[in-house]
């Protein structure tokens, strides 16, 4: 037991109860189906922009070349153009590949002492694999949900649905992305709970989003395949929200409101959490800056015009006194015939 994940589990359980009791027992459909979703989308959008602007105001003084290949150098050295880009175009390629393939995460390595005390470095690809599965499944589910928010449903969306349910398992047909999402989020959670090193560095704000997303996927799957809800009613509500004619159709089922409440909490929590990496990835100085440190002089943008007193100026001011005290000086006093020692000091300096 660990207070960090227990806290997250209990928090999500409480959220579930709040929405379930609020709808099933108290009848607060308007609150959970209209007011909270609207508030959540506003908090999400405004909060997201606020965070990005905050980051955009933080100066990045230098290029931060955490690169994985040869920097642009003499022509005899082959440059790793994508891993160590020196032009904007190549940076764009690096960013795109980072975002769609998580290349940084792919480089994740593990260190282990093997039998006989040999040190072993190896790839650790499981995290990369599950992170990739998780993000793609999440994106697919999210896009598929647009069927509740659009009328007529666009053709490309229908195509996506057909592909996602091509296994034709049961009725209603299983959407693979939903299942993959639930499985991947479960594994990402278990990884933090079961691996001691990861558990040691995990806090409640690492567990909470995972548990919350688990809750969303779980209630979604529950109402699609098990505790059926009235999908036509669900779409009526969702479409009402986006067309600014909010309605509460009767008898959708409380699980639906729990699902929507979870999503609202996720949206409102998003800008203030680690989930902001969605925007942050675009602002990462180690990824979005060309490594042209040798070609271009980068001046620290926050450099304050500091009043400096260089050694040269110092010596100009005190040269006579320094020579008098027989301190070595860079520049001699203007030669005076009476003082031959001046030559000696210059020889000493050599």
């Amino acid at each position: 037991m660990n207070r960090h994940y227990m806290f997250s589990l209990i928090a999500v359980l409480l959220l579930f109860l709040i929405a379930y009791v609020g709808v099933a027992a108290v009848g607060l459909e308007v609150l959970f189906g209209i007011i909270i979703p609207y508030a959540a989308i506003v908090v999400f959008t405004v909060g997201f922009i606020y965070r990005i602007v905050g980051w955009a105001r933080s100066p990045v003084p230098f290029r931060i070349p955490t690169t994985c290949g040869q920097q642009k150098s003499l022509p005899i050295f082959k440059q790793a153009k994508i891993d160590n880009p020196s032009t904007k175009g190549n940076v764009v390629i690096r960013m795109i590949l980072e975002i769609v393939l998580f290349r940084s995460l792919f480089r994740n390595t593990k260190v282990k002492v093997k039998e006989g005390g040999k040190l072993f470095y190896g790839y650790e690809l499981w995290l990369w694999l599950f992170a990739l599965a998780f993000h793609y499944a999440f994106a697919t589910v999210l896009v598929r949900h647009l069927r509740f928010f659009t009328e007529p449903v666009p053709q490309w969306l229908q195509l996506l649905e057909n592909v996602d349910s091509f296994m034709q398992i049961g009725l209603p047909g299983v959407f693979l992305s939903g299942v993959v999402l639930l499985a991947a989020v479960t594994l990402l959670f278990l990884r933090r709970v079961l691996l001691p090193q990861i558990r040691y560095i995990s806090l409640a704000n690492d567990y909470f989003p995972l548990v919350l997303i688990f809750g969303i996927a779980f209630t979604g799957i529950l109402m699609r395949y098990f505790i059926k809800v009235d999908v036509v009613g669900a779409k009526e509500l969702a479409y009402g929200l986006v067309s600014f004619h909010p309605t509460i159709p009767e008898g959708i089922g409380a699980v639906f409101y729990v699902h929507v409440f979870f999503v609202s909490v996720l949206l409102a929590y998003f800008p203030f959490s680690k989930l902001m990496h969605l925007g942050g990835i675009f602002m990462s100085p180690t990824r979005n800056l060309p490594t042209n440190t040798r070609e271009v002089r980068h001046v620290n943008p926050w450099s304050y015009p500091v009043k400096v007193h260089t050694y040269e100026e110092y010596e100009d001011e005190f040269r006579e006194k320094m020579v008098e005290a027989e301190l070595p000086v860079d520049k001699e006093l203007p030669p005076e015939p009476e003082e031959p020692e001046a030559d000696e000091t210059s020889e000493e300096k050599e």
Binding site: I52, F149, E161, L171, H245
Partner: protein
Amino acid sequence: MPTNNKRMYDKGMVLAGLVIFVVVVTFPFWYNLGKAAPPPEPVLTEKAKAAEKCVESTEFMKAEHMQLLDVWRDTVVRDAKRAYINPEGKTYMMSLSNTCLDCHDNKADFCDKCHNYASVRPYCWDCHIDNPKETE
């Protein structure tokens, strides 16, 4: 974060990114702008009206008719049983085309209306005929 600093770095890029963000997030809002989409109202045929009741309660049918069809399909194809007795003791033949579409023989005005709205495209009609009367 130096908040007293009002300067935004790479302003053009950041603003362009934020505009894209807002456009994507508000997609459902502007995509449907000005379009009303009343929920579908499935039309009942004379025969269905005369029967008054569906195989199960209306609430059940609304949400779970596909699962009922799944059970019917498996029961017929795997167990070779064709009689279905509902909670009220009424017996139905478990058949998609001959039972459901007997009462609801207006597939386009009944099944399809909802399905277009909910964006589901049952593949059943690849094999099952959707208007048994015509071929009988």
